[in-house]
């Protein structure tokens, strides 16, 4: 039996604060489980607001944090056994990450193609300059850019959308099986957002890459997710098919979340902003 791409099994993460008199304990993630199929690439979305534990969970999947309890297995192998640098690099070449702030994701003093070349050298074993350039150009083409356009340019010369696409290209250089994207479009202009979101779809359909998409924006989640989970306070409150859940949420929190989403339609159907929503929140 072939192992799953990713198995998250009853994972928890507890942060203990170190005070002199108190030991404040924070249950950032509590007993989260899900699996991604190796044969069927999908966009798996984790929805949560701030404090829901979604970023902590992402950190554990990316092996930058160790779970306090539970196991995370990638292609059958438990992440806890990744110790040597060689193992870590091997893991990183298969599981890549994209972060929230495209402007901060690049060193302002260096050209943007830097990380692309670095990844080509380290993950794809490209030794010669030509090999690296081919590989990088390849990856850039997949996201709709090219080395000619991007080479030698500095981060401040480019828009948020372009920078995020370059970051995605960088993640693609190593031909990963899984990409974890933590709020990848929240800091990009609305008019450029859909280009990046559509790109995720393309990655799944044409390149066979699975995406874990972490966001608080239900609208984009509806647009590209296959399955999703909703997190609140570290726990999963609802899980299943994306369309089904968003069309008809069951859990009270999911319902509140769904209702709080401002729709454009509602505007001219006369629905009003009301104050009741506030009573039940902070």
């Amino acid at each position: 039996m072939k192992s799953n791409l990713l198995d998250v099994e009853h994972v928890s993460k507890v942060f203990s604060g170190r005070g002199l008199f108190s030991r404040r304990v924070k249950h950032a993630v509590q007993d989260v489980s899900f699996s991604l199929d190796a044969d069927r690439p999908e966009v798996f979305t984790i929805i949560g607001e701030s404090g829901s534990g979604k970023s902590t969970l992402a950190g554990m999947i990316l092996n930058t944090l160790r779970p306090t309890n539970g196991h995370i297995r990638f292609a059958g192998r438990d992440l806890a056994y990744i110790r040597s640098r060689k193992d870590r690099l091997a893991f990183m070449s298969r599981v890549q990450a994209i972060f929230q702030n495209p402007f901060e994701a690049f060193n302002p003093l260096k050209p943007v193609d830097r990380y692309l070349f670095m990844a080509a050298e380290v993950f794809a074993g490209c030794r010669t300059k030509e090999a690296r350039e081919t590989r990088v150009d390849d990856a850039l083409h997949k996201v709709g850019l090219s080395l000619a356009e991007v080479g030698g340019r500095y981060p401040h010369e480019m828009s948020g959308g372009q920078l995020q696409r370059i970051a995605i290209a960088r993640a693609l250089v190593s031909n990963p099986a899984l990409i974890v994207a933590d709020e990848p479009v929240s800091m990009i202009d609305a008019s450029l957002r859909m280009t990046v979101i559509n790109l995720f779809r393309m990655l799944r359909d044409e390149l066979g890459v699975s995406i874990i998409y972490i966001t608080h924006d239900l609208a984009t989640a509806y647009y590209i997710s296959d399955r999703l989970i909703i997190m609140q306070g570290g726990k999963v409150v609802e899980a299943g098919d994306a369309r089904q859940i968003l069309a008809a949420p069951q859990h009270p929190y999911s319902l509140r979340l769904r209702e709080a989403v401002l729709s454009v339609d509602g505007a001219w159907r006369g629905s009003r902003l009301d104050v009741d929503a506030l009573e039940s929140s902070s």
Partner: protein, 289 residues
């Protein structure tokens, strides 16, 4: 970035830089003159002593029968050399310590910072005097330079460390990690450019500081007084009670030169710092400020 163009730009548009550069160039020129000196530096009574400044002896002569001007050229050269050597060695140490400590954190950080803080609190002067008394004749300039540089890195290492710590949490560091870069590469290629402005301005300050120490030690006679340095000149002037006997030029000119050097380096430091600082570099490129 084209360094020559940068320097030219700075020279044209920044008065402090232009002034500082000119002053430092003048001092360097004086030091360079030492290679053309007609008199060997350690010889005495080669010219009539106690002559006031004149056309023949532009800075006058000392009570030991040396031409003040030519003595000064050697003095400036040796003092400068000392300052630069100390600055370079201590920069290297503080960079290594600060960057590694800031990026790695954990026990490495704690260990290095304990060592660092020990060096910070060591009282400078008494230690130097102690070394002199212990080593006396073996206290060459090279030894002194090494000792002073070992005492001069601690302060700046902490500064560099704090910058390294803030860089560690920035997003592009994460991206660098995910691009497969190791600690060494990240620290050297990604973080160093951010740290350089601080390093540069502290270098110039460090030169001032070490020259100050050298002058003080020499004036008090705690160094190898046979190699002519600015401090050494003042020491000899004091030995011969120059000010009292009216030979003011023996004391004034060395002091004037060293003050000029301080000012020049200071002006350079503040003007270059503004230029190299990453943020101002960015806004100049037209990006978000």
């Amino acid at each position: 970035m084209n360094t020559l163009k940068i320097l030219r730009d700075l020279f044209h548009y920044n008065k402090e830089f232009a002034a500082g550069l000119l002053i430092v160039l003048v001092v360097l020129a004086i030091a360079a003159c030492s290679f053309f000196s007609p008199y060997p530096p350690l010889d005495v009574y080669v010219v009539p002593p106690d002559m006031p400044p004149s056309w023949e002896y532009p800075f006058g002569t000392t009570s030991r029968g040396q031409d003040v001007f030519w003595q000064l050229t050697f003095a400036v050269r040796n003092t400068l050399l000392f300052g630069i050597v100390v600055a370079v060695i201590s920069r290297v140490i503080s960079l290594c310590v600060g960057l590694v400590s800031g990026y790695r954190g954990g026990w490495i950080d704690r260990l290095l910072m304990s060592i660092n803080d020990t060096f910070v609190v060591i009282p400078l002067f008494p230690i130097l005097v102690l070394f002199y008394f212990i080593m006396r004749d073996q206290m060459t300039w090279a030894m002194l330079a090494i000792i002073v540089s070992l005492l001069g890195w601690a302060y700046d290492a902490r500064l560099i460390r704090s910058i390294a710590m803030s860089l560690r949490t920035r997003e592009f560091t994460r991206q660098a990690v995910f691009s497969g870069m190791g600690t060494g590469r990240i620290v050297w290629q990604e973080h160093l450019p951010f740290v350089l402005p601080i390093v540069f301005s502290t270098t110039l300050n460090n030169i001032n500081w070490s020259i100050g120490i050298e002058v003080t030690l020499s004036v008090l006679g705690f160094t190898d007084i046979n190699t002519p340095t600015i401090g050494g000149m003042i020491y000899w002037a004091n030995q011969h009670t120059a000010l009292v006997s009216g030979v003011w030029w023996w004391v004034t000119f060395p002091i004037a030169i060293v003050v000029l050097l301080f000012i020049g380096l200071f002006l350079l430091a503040i003007s270059m710092n503004e230029y190299i600082d990453p943020r101002s570099r960015l806004s100049r490129l037209g990006g978000p400020s």
